[in-house]
Amino acid sequence: MTLKIACKWLACAAVVGGLMGATATPSLAATLKMAWAQDATGLDPHKQTAFSSIRLLELIYEPLVRLDGDLKVVPALAKEWTFSSDAKTLTFKLDPAAKFHNGAAVTSADVKASFTRILDQATGAAARANYVSIARIDTPDDKTVVFNLSQPDVPLLTAMGSINAAIVPASEITGGKIGTAAVGTGPFKLEKWEPNQKEVLKANPEWAGGKVGVDGIDISVLPDENAILAALRAKQVDFALLNDPLVATLVPKVAGLTLNRKPVLSYHVLQLNPSRKPMTELAVRQAISCAIDRQDVLDTALLGEGQITGPLTMPLYRSDPNSLFCYKKDLEKAKKLMADAGFKDGFSATVIAATGEPPTAASEAQVIQSQLKEIGIKLDIKLMELNVYVDTWLKGDFDMAVALNGGRADPYTMYNRYWTKAGNLQKVANYVDDTLDDLMQKGRVETDITKRKEIFAAFDKHLAEKSPWIWLYTGYSYTAQQQTVQNFVATPDGSLFGLSKVSIK
């Protein structure tokens, strides 16, 4: 009997010991252990537009140029480039050292094949809209590519910095392997991808961009961000991408962890539908703009983790919000505007919001609901699953929508979809304005940066005054890391490309 009890205790001790041993393993030295909550949804860089996919693919693939931490265009696969004075010809010289992961050199034929694929309607590349001005691609030699444009298109260069314009091997396109095998030129090679579980990346020793700081990256998909924080605490993870500001703000309270915060280009906005009564009335839209206390929404829903913004969110073009129409809450003015429009007693409307996207959407809707109540607007909040929301949003089937829309480094690329008469998402914006359309076209062809700034400043001001949407604020991108992780540089587009230079002490 005693022997039996002793055996039982020994077995228990073995299990507990094993448990502790298996759970307390510290992070490795040369492989970066990383976690994120949302995994990539595919490997085709020309088709993937989801934030989570882009973050993975920009470690594997490279475009001709990329944007640095200040959103300046810097070399990637192209060493240099020139725009003709009429902005109708763009010539790139490729980096002679650039090689694909399969060892083949990157040639102008690969660049031509990649853009031909993007422009082919059968590919279904959503970013195609940014490159439609490309009329012909010439390849005078192996390392030179000339893009001949159908019209002047200054924003094209910045748009080419997107991973949606990644260069893939012509042979992989011909073989129909894009999306199934990931053969890029980037700092990491994809060794293993188990969707919604993990990715294993190995450093590319032949990367033309220089030496990669770690041997590889093991990425775990931990869908709950509280679990990511716990994994950071337990040192199971060296580096993590966080979306939820409520979780991110807890990181600095944990000893040994560092939070990286970077203002991003994407913006939180209350989209009005100016094709629906009474938002058809300028005075009503302006009244809503005046009634909303943006700082209050930011402080309450996002714990103050952001900056009030006008329509343009990129540092080069961003204006002082205080110079824009009614950015300071003015309830008297709002009530007067409502009365002028014949809605002294207010009206009822529905606002849609996606559950969890952004994580603060429901709180934002609630704060806005309480603020608009003050001028008699009774808002009914309709929370939707993301896909249902997207479907409704694309149809423009809403009175108002709480949204987090993606930003771009160039104002034209960012807004031509909404505020030009031929914009693909004009149906979502539901607002046609000759002045906005005219300013957009001027900005597209203007090569002088000072004049471009003036054009887009006028655009910014006009848009805020006409208030088809109520721009609120921009947030931050968050990454958390152990103090042993060094040299990570965050960028306003949320890119994780900075991981190529990260090292572990």
């Binding site: 309607q121 059968a122 699953e385 997207v390």
Partner: protein
Amino acid sequence: MNYLLRRLVTFPLVMLGVSILVFVAIRLVPGDSITAMLGTEAGLLTPDQRQALAAYFGLDQGWLVQYGKWLSGVTSGNLGLSVTYGKPVLDVILQRFPLTLELAVLSMLIAICCGLPLGVFAATRNGRGSDLGVRIFAMIGQSTPSFVIGLGIIYVLSAGFGILPSMGEYIPFAQDPLGNLSQLILPALTLGLSFTASVTRISRSAMLDVLSDDYVRTARSKGVSKRHVIWRHALPNALIPVVTLSGVEFGYLLGGAVLVEQIFALPGLGRMTLEAILQRDYALVQGAVLFVALNFMIVNLLVDLAYVMLDPRIRLGGRS
């Protein structure tokens, strides 16, 4: 035997009904694979681009044609191709199933091993303080959501002790038994707690019923020890409702415990199905639901067969 055959014959009919329901339900939800992949950027597609993507995802044909094609594939063992994983649906499901099955078995073991003795203990001390304590435990266990328990465990372990079970990738038992147990014991405890509470409550009330029966009193009056009466005479007769409950709970668990899998980042069937729904991976959703339905029917059948073993008076098939 007749009963078993009759039950087996109903399987394909139930599966057909389930397949129609899930096929229609997932397509009635707004959004499709294209909006799931591209989000709001899907609005930038030209009609030709959208058409090309619809053909790629198999959305360019009518529902009846889609269903007919899928059903003919299912009858030959082909559940289709998952657009998320780029693999056959059956392969993806079978890759996820071992974890779900192991988690369900562990949770059930915890529930039976703890819940049954607790229920019997409480029943034999009906109305006393210890009975009240067990009932309070059962009430708390049943009413606390699993995500609260899971997050609580994770917080205490990581903040208090700096340790955490391995998360993200499943470690099979055959590959690393200790690693596997360390990964699954906490999620199993999380799930097992509410399961234990249910088993405790149902076994307590069943035991109370049985303990008031005449044959129990007779056995006691004949001098049989209390312990013997409880464990050998009363308990077997009180097990029927416990088996029913356990069968139903086990069937549910075989469909995956979404919240617990989400919190502990376990790649089980539940999380896979949730992600497939969010990404509108129609083939995977349909395949997963069909697989879960089949499991549920098998478990129910086994529960029915277990009744006969527990109580020979029960005759399955209508006549007794």
